[in-house]
């Protein structure tokens, strides 16, 4: 008995020393070739030494440096720290070389970081760790995860750890573990779980039937989800069309000006976003707000240009709608080339704020990308605001009066010229706002607008010129139909079909979905 206790004591005393040796022994491998790196990362992950965490994090973030003699350093802000001891080192960064990694190392790092972080006190880190282990699954993680699961109190993290555990069990040798893993994975609606199951199928013929059943169950859930996904994709495309078309619905739909420079206003809105962002770059507290600030800024910039264009050029052409087409085409050419000469022909970088990155999970596990969800909501808000502006404000009233019967409106004391300018500025400003949103999903280049102009006109015409509600329904309708056709017709043909369908539809109802009624329609 005594001897056993003694032995146990000795063992416990020896362990830290051995672990320390292993930690230090594994470390230099991180600065070696990709193969050596993978090995070292794996060792450090299994050792579970918390000191490895900052080093591996630095490696994955490209902050691990190497001196000529092989010593590893971590760049922490402006300081350089010795990776092994954590002590600051006095070396010029020019004398160091960055340790580079490739995807294989990155994969190993993810697994190792997961192993180290699963005991983190921060629940978000534990969640990320569980996901990382899920992807980097290995049988040796089973005890680690079992322990983590027992400790875990946050339900969401628990679920993820359970999933990671299931995935790790699947690659275990123990048949009972395997079956438990299969059952757990089969209860999800995750394509990754499906992929893992299928991967395991070939290696485990003895559980093939269970795997097939689990995959079938996942497939069923995925089919429903896929339909929801397609619907969302369609709505998202619709929101982009809506944003692009709304300004046109005002300038073309309400005023009858065929503004071929509309796409250029959208582009100017996107460039305003870039400029606001560049301006905010040096002011830290302003930085997160650059996108919200860009919305009014883009509105003002494009509205001002629109007003100038209306007063200077377009007002001379009222009553000759087709001629406005030629004039605005010329103006569009000039705006595009001016932007190209001022900002360069290259794409400009727009940084997405963190809340517009990544994927969000809606109820029923429907994944939606954050930027598109925001843009969808944004387009609806803008639509509501425009509707309110037209229906409820004095300006909206005057605008409707002027477009319906100009002479009578003038007789009532409305300054029609001012209303014209304001209406065109309003429509142009909305185009600018659309540019802010589009800068989050498309290129910011001088050609940005060209891609949207035809679709915008089609949406307005399809919905019925002069009807904002028609524009809304046309945009979402075309978006959803396009996305439903896409999987089996391909992206190009789907678009061709939609165009032909719209052309055919206009034959049946030449004034669109929601034709304007009354005398205004005759103009």
């Amino acid at each position: 008995m005594k001897r056993t206790i003694l032995l146990l004591f000795l063992l416990l005393a020896a362990m830290p020393a051995r672990a320390q040796d292993a930690f230090l022994a594994a470390l230099p491998g991180l600065g070696g070739g990709f193969g050596a790196q993978v090995e070292a990362v794996g060792q450090l992950g299994t050792l579970g030494d918390p000191r490895a965490l900052p080093i591996l994090t630095a490696l994955s973030e490209g902050r691990l440096l190497r001196l000529a003699d092989g010593t590893l350093l971590i760049r922490d802000g402006t300081r350089l720290l010795n990776a092994a001891t954590g002590a600051p080192v006095d070396v010029a960064e020019a004398d160091t070389q960055r340790v580079t990694i490739n995807n294989r190392v990155r994969g190993a790092l993810r697994g190792a970081l997961g192993q180290l972080q699963i005991i983190s006190p921060n629940s978000a880190e534990r969640l990320a760790a569980a996901d990382a282990i899920f992807r980097a699954r290995s049988a040796e993680n089973v005890p680690l995860l079992d322990a983590a699961l027992a400790r875990e109190s946050v339900p969401e993290v628990r679920d993820r750890i359970a999933l990671a555990l299931a995935a790790s069990r699947l690659v275990a040798t123990n048949p009972a573990d395997k079956l438990a893993g299969i059952t757990a994975l089969g209860e999800t609606a995750s394509p990754q779980a499906r992929s893992i199951l299928l991967e395991a199928r070939a290696a485990n013929p003895e559980v093939a039937t269970q795997i097939d059943a689990a995959v079938a169950a996942i497939d069923q859930r995925l089919a429903i989800r896929r339909a929801a996904e397609t619907l969302f994709q369609g709505l998202s495309l619709g929101s982009v069309l809506l944003l692009a078309a709304l300004g046109l619905a005002v300038t073309f739909g309400v005023m009858g000006v065929i503004n071929m420079a509309h796409g250029e206003f959208v582009m100017l809105g996107a460039y305003t976003t870039v400029m606001v962002q560049d301006f905010a770059r040096d002011i830290p507290w302003l930085q997160p707000w650059s996108l919200p600030i860009a919305v009014p800024a883009a509105f003002l910039v494009t509205a001002a240009i629109g007003a100038a264009m209306e007063r200077g050029l377009i007002r001379h052409l009222y009553g000759r709608p087709l001629e406005t087409l030629l004039l605005t085409f010329g103006v569009g050419m000039m705006i595009q080339q001016a932007v190209r000469l001022i900002f360069g022909a290259q794409n400009r970088e727009v940084i997405s704020p963190p809340w517009m990155q990544g994927t969000l999970m809606l109820p029923f596990d429907i994944p939606v990308t954050a930027n598109r969800l925001w843009i969808l909501c944004f387009s609806l808000v803008i639509f509501g605001l425009i509707l309110a502006a037209i229906r409820m404000t004095r300006f909206g009233l005057e605008m409707r009066a002027v477009t319906q019967r100009r002479p009578i409106a003038a007789a009532m004391g409305i300054r029609t010229g001012r209303v014209d300018a304001l209406t065109f500025a309003f429509g142009s400003g909305i185009a600018g706002i659309a540019g802010v949103a589009l800068s989050q999903i498309d290129n910011v280049s001088p050609n940005l607008g060209t891609g949207y102009i035809i679709d915008s006109f089609l949406v307005v015409v399809f919905g019925g010129v002069g009807s904002l509600a028609g524009t809304l329904i046309a945009a979402f309708g075309l978006g959803v139909i396009n996305k439903m056709l896409e999987p089996w017709a391909g992206a190009v043909l789907a678009k061709v079909f939609v165009l032909v369908a719209v052309m055919a539809f206009i034959q049946r109802r030449p004034r669109g979905l929601f034709p304007q009624k009354g005398r205004a329609a005759e103009a």
Partner: protein
């Protein structure tokens, strides 16, 4: 669209004047290939480049003429005339591709190169017959004509006019562009057709072939001009102009406006197709870019710059805008879009009747 402010038929002296301008343009052009044969240092020598580029402008002039017939006389502002032009070009291109025969890089006796490396086993059915010149020429006229017939019938019957019609025609050319970009269509996708060898037994890269094509284009231009002149001068032409100015009133008078417009539209599309067919062997390439809506709008601009509803105006517009473009894209590669854009703005604002209007306005 409300009634336009265009003049009633111009005083005959002016009309004769316009015809004289057209005559001068044609005669000057006709001398180009001849002057090209003069020695290089002669003052009257016309360079090879000017001959080849003006051959191309003549095709544009035919396109502008066809558009003027539809827009200036029948009031149909087509923003898709480039599609008819391109279809004519494609029909000619298919003929030229078939004539390459086994001279392609892969040496296949029948299949064009692009079909060989896309793995086609045999010629698609719609390529059959294009090895015959007469059949190809027929298609040059028929394909654009049929498309115009179908589209026009559907639109005019539903009384789609003005802006709506313009947007529909624009959507048509856009849809065709997307469709032709697809490699699966069997029209060579984005690369389209290039590397033509010969036409009617004539190798295309010789001066003689260029001169022949130049004269063929010029004769076509004159032919189309005379046809338009004749057509707009007849009673039919007067009704057409009346439809342009007040369609409802003409219909109430008992005229079948649909068939009147349809005839003009189809004739116009066929002319555009012919222009495209003459264009392709001269520039040596046809690709879906020709369908791009911007090209069609540009053609409208030529007509507007020259002066719509005058025929000669369309021709002058096509020559002057394209001449300017050719010159400026070399002389001011960074700034030419400003000049051209500014020109369009200035013309719409200050010269609503185009360059020809300048002439007419002074005459009054």
């Amino acid at each position: 669209m409300s009634a336009t402010t265009l003049d009633t038929p111009a005083p005959s002296r002016i009309r004769l004047g316009l015809r004289a301008v057209m005559g001068v343009v044609v005669v000057v052009l006709a001398t180009f290939p001849l002057l090209n044969m003069l020695p290089q240092d002669s003052v009257f020598h016309v360079s090879d480049f000017l001959v080849s580029v003006s051959g191309k402008w003549i095709c544009y002039a035919i396109l502008a003429l066809s558009l003027d017939l539809a827009w200036g006389y029948a009031g149909i502002l087509s923003l898709g005339h480039g599609a008819f032009f391109a279809l004519g070009g494609y029909a000619m291109g298919m003929h030229l591709m078939r004539l390459i025969g086994p001279r392609g890089v892969y040496g296949h006796p029948v299949l064009p190169d692009f079909m060989v490396f896309l793995g086609y086993q045999q010629l698609p059915w719609y390529w059959l017959g294009f090895d015959h010149f007469a059949f190809a020429m027929l298609m040059v006229l028929l394909v654009p004509g049929m498309l115009a017939l179908v589209l026009g019938w559907l639109c005019f019957r539903s009384r789609i006019t003005g802006v709506y019609l313009s947007i529909i025609t624009q959507a048509m050319t856009y849809a065709l562009m997307l469709a032709f970009f697809r490699n699966d269509m069997g029209f060579g996708g984005n690369n389209g057709f290039t590397d033509f060898k010969e036409l009617l037994g004539m190798p295309l890269n010789t001066g003689a072939a260029r001169a022949s094509l130049f004269y063929a284009s010029l004769v076509s231009l004159v032919g189309c001009y005379l046809f338009c002149l004749w057509m707009t001068g007849t009673k039919y032409g007067r009704v057409l102009t009346a439809i342009r100015d007040a369609e409802n009133r003409v219909r109430f008078l008992g005229y079948d406006t649909t068939s009147h417009k349809l005839f003009a539209f189809v004739a116009s599309a066929m002319m555009a197709g012919l222009a495209g067919a003459l264009y392709v062997p001269q520039v040596g390439i046809i690709n879906p870019g020709e369908f791009s809506p911007g090209n069609s709008i540009e053609a409208v601009i030529w007509v507007a710059v020259g002066g719509r509803g005058t025929l000669v105006g369309a021709v002058i517009g096509a020559f002057s805008v394209n001449g300017l473009k050719t010159w400026l894209t070399s002389a001011a590669p960074d700034l030419w879009l400003f000049v051209l854009g500014g020109l369009f703005v200035a013309v719409t604002l200050f010269l609503p009747k185009g360059l020809v209007g300048l002439l007419k306005g002074r005459a009054k």
